[in-house]
């Protein structure tokens, strides 16, 4: 299995967000600073689908509610792609780790 580098995970994540946003405006340049609520128009309930989708895509459980709590505690105005990436990089297990687990 491909190594889950930050670039690879970013690519997968953006693909997934695009997939959920069917009216995607392809001119939007998604960067790590792009906010998923304010810039991409997601709603809070979409967190559930995002969580289930990320778990399915990477085939592992993710501590998503904990992440959301941290977001709240830090009073962030929005969750950015960068936040999500930090979270994923901190929690995704590489296939080698999985094989060993």
């Amino acid at each position: 299995m491909e190594l889950l580098t930050r670039d690879k995970v970013r690519q997968d994540l953006i693909e997934l967000l695009k997939d959920a946003r069917e009216d995607w405006d392809h001119s939007i340049n998604v960067t790590d600073e792009t906010g998923i609520f304010n810039d991409l128009g997601f709603e809070s309930i979409d967190a559930v689908g995002l969580s289930s989708s990320l778990e399915a895509h990477f085939d592992q459980s993710l501590p998503f509610p904990e992440f959301m709590t941290k977001v709240k505690e830090q009073n962030l105005k929005d969750i950015t792609v960068g936040h999500l990436l930090d979270f994923l990089m901190a929690n995704l297990r590489q296939s080698a780790e999985r094989a060993a687990a």
Binding site: S44, I45, G49, A101
Partner: protein, 530 residues
């Protein structure tokens, strides 16, 4: 052998259905009952939607299938909360059981089905917002295919909408119930249209669909639906709202009629509900009671709700509302009516010493049953307290609450802080009752019979029997022989098959957290609805 349709009506109860049949509002259901068999169907304890439907589709109890509520601890030694998904549903589903015997299945709007299991057939999960339903359905091309092929298909109407759903659980008056009821009528029709399209273009041998508006309407509008609560001289407003409710059930009746036509005579249809319904008139703030008894300490600054708060169950509390260093027992989530006992070394180093667990628990049960009383009348508020050994027995037992309560009005406890422990609701709201419905009709099924109570675990084995398939040896329910004619039973011997195929539990299930994240606020609705 017969094909099978599981026609799921979330929360359907004879209290309402019999009244509507008697009034001529549901002629198809009347005919269905005349030519089929009916029984009260006992739900799981507590009668909560996710564990209940999961029991129906697995033929296993919650301690075995792993779904205990809308949210649950991810492991016995963890303080992390998970949102329910198919990762927690660890027992084999009936969809998979029929697949293993060469039959195809379709599953629509069932809880704990996201991401959809990859069965031979098709699955659209329930409780998922429209943006994600495509990715979480199976096959992944299904939603796009429906958009292209099915006129009028609207994924936004089909999928759960938490903003609107929220109204199902908040007792505050809303200006126009018409739009709200209309939304549910439209949603059910969308699900039916999907089922019809799929049955015609991608046929399966077993199809299950859940119409969940029944539950939503009954939660919010129970006084208009329970004939015992109809005023002697109803005013125009009452009649107008009741008429809207009747529109909803007339539509359900129409969908049943179309389902029967679509399915044809060689299909057995099981109308089933995950639990019944009744009225709740009070709110027990159970954590306040635990505080009064010295079992619980709120963290400083935890806000109290108003006494006259009209919400059915206003919050799903984060663990951080409690001072865990000074808390021995707490109710964590609204709908499960569960109390967790904090035991040192179990999840952290707080709580009672493990050797005191049995005596502590016995004392707490005794106090809950005998000393949690109405301050005005002295009447006991809690009618039953179950241990997890009693109702969650099985490999997943230890993720469940230590104790589960049944209240005198069948209500859900509130887990919020209040200035007092008991409040009257300004108006009666619907709540879950342990007795749901099972009404079956089809080849070999007796006509017009009323049989003794059955249980949710019996549906899966009975559906398999109607399909002529063998029954996995480890299902916990039984084939309901009494619904069939003697001739049919004679001609179709029951065959026991190999055990169910274990589903890998979410390996290293480590999704956790504190559940009151703002972002999950909309999910609170789930806590009440169910």
């Amino acid at each position: 052998m017969s094909k099978v349709v599981l026609f799921g009506l979330d929360g359907a109860t004879y209290t309402v259905l019999d009244d509507l049949v008697a009034r001529g509002m549901m002629p198809t259901l009347a005919e269905f009952m005349r030519t089929g068999v009916r029984a009260k169907m006992l739900s799981v304890k507590p009668p909560l939607t996710p564990p209940a439907w999961s029991t129906l589709v697995t033929g296993r109890t919650p301690g075995h299938h792993g779904v205990t509520g809308f949210f649950q601890y991810d492991a016995p030694d963890s303080l992390s909360i998970q949102l329910i998904s198919s990762r927690q549903l660890v027992a084999e589903t009936i969809w998979s059981m029929v697949n293993r015997q060469g039959k195809r299945a379709g599953s629509l709007n069932f809880v704990a089905h996201q991401p959809a299991p990859k069965i031979d057939g098709w699955v659209i999960p329930g409780w998922v917002s429209w943006r994600w339903i495509r990715r979480l359905s199976h096959p992944s091309t299904l939603i796009d295919k429906l958009k292209a092929e099915l006129p009028g298909f609207d994924v936004k109407s089909l999928a759960i909408d938490f903003e609107e759903e929220r109204k199902a659980i908040v007792g505050a008056p809303i200006d126009d119930y018409k739009d709200w009821v209309g939304l549910h009528i439209n949603r059910e029709t969308q699900w039916f249209n999907v089922m019809k399209h799929q049955m015609l273009h991608d046929p399966v041998d077993l199809v299950g669909v859940v119409y969940d508006g029944v539950d939503k309407l009954q939660h919010l509008l129970w006084p208009y639906l329970d004939p015992a609560l109809t005023p002697a001289e109803p005013d125009a407003e009452f009649l107008r709202i009741r008429s809207l409710c009747w529109d909803y059930f007339r539509n359900i009746d129409n969908l049943l009629k179309q389902t029967m036509e679509l399915a044809g005579p060689n299909t057995t249809i099981f109308i089933c509900s995950d639990h019944g319904f009744t009225g709740s008139w009070e709110i027990l703030f159970i954590n306040n009671w635990l505080e009064e008894r010295g079992y619980l300490t709120w963290k400083e600054g935890t806000e109290a709700v108003q006494d006259d708060n009209q919400e059915l169950e206003p919050s799903f509390y984060r663990l951080s509302a409690f001072d865990l260093t000074r808390t021995k027992a707490y109710a964590l989530t609204a709908s499960s009516n569960g109390i967790y006992i904090s035991v040192k070394g179990r999840k952290d180093e707080n709580g009672i010493p493990p050797e005191e667990y049995e005596s502590f628990r016995r004392k707490l049960i005794d106090e809950l049953l005998n000393e949690c009383v109405d301050p005005e009348t002295g009447e006991k508020l809690i009618t039953n307290v179950w241990t997890r050994e009693e109702i969650f027995d099985g490999p997943m037992r230890d993720i469940a609450p230590d104790l589960t309560l049944a209240l005198r009005d069948y209500g859900f406890v509130s887990v919020r802080r209040n200035r007092r422990m008991l409040a009257k609701r300004p108006q009666i709201l619907g709540t879950h009752h342990p007795e749901g419905v099972l009404i079956a009709r089809g080849p070999g099924i007796r006509q017009g019979a009323v049989i003794d109570d059955v249980h949710l675990v019996d549906v899966a084995p009975t559906a398999l029997y109607s399909m002529g398939l063998s029954i996995p040896a480890d299902l916990q329910g039984r084939v309901l022989n009494e619904i069939y004619t003697p001739e049919f039973l004679e001609a179709h011997k029951l065959r026991r098959g190999e055990e169910t195929k274990a589903v890998a539990a979410a390996a290293g299930a480590d999704a956790p957290g504190d559940e009151e994240a703002e972002i999950l606020e909309k999910l609170k609705a789930l806590g009440y609805i169910e």
